[in-house]
């Protein structure tokens, strides 16, 4: 059973549009949710993260919306750029998983110019 789920598996948007990437989780004790960005041939890199005490975290064009009651979160990328084309992983840790990061399967984002 996958503890962290992501949808869609792939997403294509036009340059300038807002991309919305979804994530949900099973374990209500998770309390930290980082999003990682991975380009081909590279390791994942932290993009933005949120703690379960917050419902929103913004960093430039990237915003996480978090709904603790529904155990869902989403990453919004506004004014998408071709350079944002990458795979985005939602992850969770804390609570019963301790410091182990549990990753979702990822969303492959393609931004067309």
């Amino acid at each position: 059973q996958q503890q962290v789920r992501q949808s869609p598996q792939s997403l294509t948007v036009w340059e300038g549009e807002t991309a919305i990437l979804n994530c949900s989780y099973e374990d209500s004790t998770f309390n930290y949710f980082p999003w990682y960005q991975q380009f081909p041939g590279e390791g994942p890199a932290l993009l933005i993260s949120i703690r379960s005490v917050s419902d929103k975290k913004e960093d430039g064009r990237f915003t996480i919306f978090f709904n603790k009651r529904e155990k869902k979160l989403s990453l919004h990328i506004t004014d998408s750029q071709p350079g944002d084309s990458a795979t985005y992983f939602c992850a969770a840790s804390g609570g019963s998983s301790g410091n182990k990061l549990i990753f979702g399967i990822g969303t492959l984002l393609s931004v067309k110019p």
Binding site: N31, Y32, P34, Y36, Q38, G41, E42, G43, P44, A45, L46, S49, R51, T87, F89, S93, G94, G95, S97, G98, N99, K100, L101, F103, I105, G106
Partner: protein, 114 residues
């Protein structure tokens, strides 16, 4: 340059051979990790070490063994590789190993088992 370094970038081998991958971090972190990323890009933790001590050992086949000489180095040895071991192996480090630590990843070692 401070980062997480992995060697080799790519390794092709035959079933039954032994392979070793190296990882070094120059970030001054206390905790290091090995992840496996399969062909579907799913990332799963295999091991983590804090100050040379094994703290997480997920259910991985016994042919996988981590080796840490100091807190900046964490190597991975695979004895008698099998076809399902073909994957990208990612090394990461974090400052303290806390549950809200940022983990910094290396570029990965891609293993192909023929």
């Amino acid at each position: 340059e401070t980062a997480v370094f992995q060697t080799p970038n790519y390794h092709v081998t035959q079933v039954g051979n032994e392979v070793s991958f190296n990882c070094k971090q120059t970030l001054g972190h206390d905790t290091m990790y090995w992840y496996k990323q399969d062909s579907k890009k799913l990332l799963k933790i295999m091991f983590s070490y804090n100050n040379k001590q094994l703290i997480v050992n997920e259910t991985v086949p016994r042919r996988f063994s981590p080796q840490s000489s100091d807190k900046a180095h964490l190597n991975l040895r695979i004895k008698s590789v099998e076809p399902e071991d073909s994957a990208v192996y990612l090394c990461a480090s974090s400052p303290w190993g806390g549950d809200q630590d940022t983990q910094y990843f290396g570029p990965g070692t891609r293993l192909l088992v023929l």
